[in-house]
């Protein structure tokens, strides 16, 4: 009884004299491997050269600073809420007097950690951020020896004052306009807070 049409008749055919000689077969095999001598290498010598990535590649996050060098993040937690992998955690603190140059708003993130092993690089944190503080960049996440080392703190995420990271490709005008659209979750929240504020006072 034939159950499927995938069955194959086993062939136990005897080798021909030519096949029994082996040598032609061996030569054929050697020509195949030999032809690979002249093929393109598949290797990318990583640290020196990198694979080309899309301009809007989503890799290692950056916490942006504003034009004065103050951190933009205000530790609102929207990115952590938006994160589907629950990779982001933060602790907020209040800005002291004299720290205006360091932090843009009165509240800032004392601790800001992203677990790079949990992160799925979807970019929802960037979409959720009302302060334009977090962006994904085209940098690849480093390799580490320990799992703990993949939890990136502020030291690895915040951009250096003297070494700004260009995110203009991901922060186009269209994106900025899109973020202001009514109906987006954080816009609505912001609006409702405004209304609440208005009612209180």
């Amino acid at each position: 009884m034939q159950l499927t049409n995938r069955s194959k008749v086993v062939s136990n055919k005897v080798q021909t004299a030519m096949e029994q000689l082996y040598l032609p077969g061996i030569l054929k095999g050697m020509l195949i491997t030999g032809s690979h001598l002249f093929k393109r290498r598949a290797t990318v010598k990583y640290p020196e050269e990198t694979r080309p990535v899309a301009a809007v590649y989503r890799g290692w996050h950056v916490l942006k600073r504003d034009e004065n060098g103050a951190e933009r993040c205000t530790a609102c937690g929207l990115c952590a809420v938006a994160c589907p992998a629950e990779a982001i955690t933060m602790e907020s603190a209040e800005r002291k007097k004299g720290e205006e140059g360091l932090y843009r708003e009165e509240k800032y993130a004392k601790v800001y950690e992203i677990n790079m092993l949990r992160c799925i690089f979807c970019g929802l944190c960037e979409e959720a951020c009302p302060k334009e503080a977090i962006f994904l960049t085209d940098r690849l996440v480093d390799t580490e020896y320990e799992r703990e080392d993949f939890v990136y703190g502020k030291s690895k995420l915040t951009e250096k004052v003297d070494k700004r990271i260009d995110v203009s490709k991901r922060q186009t005008l269209e994106v900025a306009e899109f973020k202001k659209l009514p109906g987006l979750k954080h816009n609505e929240m912001w609006d409702s807070k405004k209304i609440d504020k208005g009612n209180k006072h």
């Binding site: 061996i26 095999g29 491997t33 001598l37 393109r40 290498r41 010598k45």
Partner: protein, 351 residues
């Protein structure tokens, strides 16, 4: 007398160093070639183009922990790899590396010793090499090592027979000489022996693969079945010696093949080239060019050895024995018969 001893010492050390250097760089070339055949780049981090890789590999071997099993016979355990290395290095003694050359007004031979039983010496030393593997595998007191060494010895003995008969045919073609120098020299006058011995060469080549335990005949150390074969229990530099001896053997067997069948340091139109360059017999430059030609051949052979390794899968053991006893042995006998007939008509042998 002193000058003679110094000259012999120098050439001994030179051949010794050459064997080691070539073996070391064969390991690099093996890795490089395997990478090229697999569309990879291969080692290129240690030094320019990875040229320091053999040093790094050797250094790694030296710094590994040295383990000698409690249950092993310590003396034999150390004797094994030493014997393998010794015999591998001894074979280089009878190989003529280049033409004789005048150095400081005296004619020097570029060969450690030209004994008139060179081929017998070569075969004798190579078959002692089996003992090294056998002793090493036995002394390990490990079943995988024992199986590996058993395989090695039976394989090498089997293939030595076909190899020996192929060489007998070669000796007949060369007019009955056993000296490697004479075999090489008489190819200078006529054609290379490959013209008269194509079948003999193929038999010799296959047997040389089996003798050096190279793929597709690497059953003595097949990782898939026997962990590491005869060197399972070995570690550190003793393992290094085993692996290194394989590369020296490969180098020497390439040299022997080039000398037996491809004219050694001779090459087509060599005399015309020397005449055009105005070089007299016994010139240093002739020796050097001949040495270069010889090395090109050796390099090509080593590359083909590696090419085969990275192309073919391993034989099954019964297939190996089948090939050795039921195909190569009759073939080599046939080759011998044909050679006798051909040489009778060429006038090399008379009845």
């Amino acid at each position: 007398m002193l000058a003679f001893i110094i000259y012999k010492l120098i050439i001994c050390v030179a051949v010794f160093g050459l064997s080691l250097a070539v073996a070391a760089y064969s390991t690099l070339w093996e890795r490089k070639l395997s990478a090229l055949l697999q569309d990879r780049v291969g080692p290129d981090r240690a030094g320019p183009f990875g040229l320091l890789q053999p040093l790094a590999d050797g250094g790694k071997m030296f710094f590994k922990e040295e383990i000698i099993p409690n249950v092993s016979n310590k003396f034999l355990f150390i004797l094994g790899p030493s014997l393998v290395m010794l015999t591998a290095l001894m074979t280089g003694a009878v190989i003529p590396w280049a033409k004789d050359a005048y150095v400081g007004g005296k004619l020097y031979s570029m060969q450690i010793t030209d004994i008139n039983i060179g081929i017998l010496y070569l075969f004798g030393v190579v078959s002692v090499g089996v003992y090294g593997i056998m002793i090493g595998g036995w002394a390990s007191n490990n079943k995988y090592a024992l199986l590996g060494s058993m395989r090695a010895s039976s394989q090498m003995i089997s293939y030595e027979i076909a190899m020996g008969i192929a060489v007998i045919a070669l000796i007949i073609t060369s007019g009955g000489t056993l000296s490697l120098r004479e075999i090489v020299e008489q190819q200078d006058a006529g054609f290379a022996n490959i013209v008269w011995q194509p079948l003999g060469f193929i038999i010799f080549f296959v047997c040389a693969l089996a003798e050096t335990n190279r793929a597709p005949f690497d059953l003595p150390e097949c990782e898939a079945e026997l962990v590491g074969g005869y060197h399972t229990e070995y570690s550190s530099m003793k393992l290094g010696l085993f692996l290194f001896a394989e590369y020296i053997n490969m180098f020497i067997s390439s040299a022997v093949m080039a000398a037996f069948y491809f004219g050694g340091y001779n090459f087509p139109f060599a005399q015309e080239l020397y005449d055009a360059m105005g070089l007299a017999d016994g010139s240093k430059w002739i020796a050097l060019i001949g040495f270069g030609a010889y090395f090109t051949k050796i390099f090509l052979f080593i590359s083909v050895f590696m090419w085969i390794r990275w192309t073919l899968p391993r034989f099954r053991y019964d297939q190996l024995m089948n090939l050795g006893w039921r195909i190569l042995l009759p073939l080599s006998l046939l080759n011998l018969a044909i050679t006798v007939v051909v040489e009778f008509f060429r006038g090399h042998i008379t009845f």
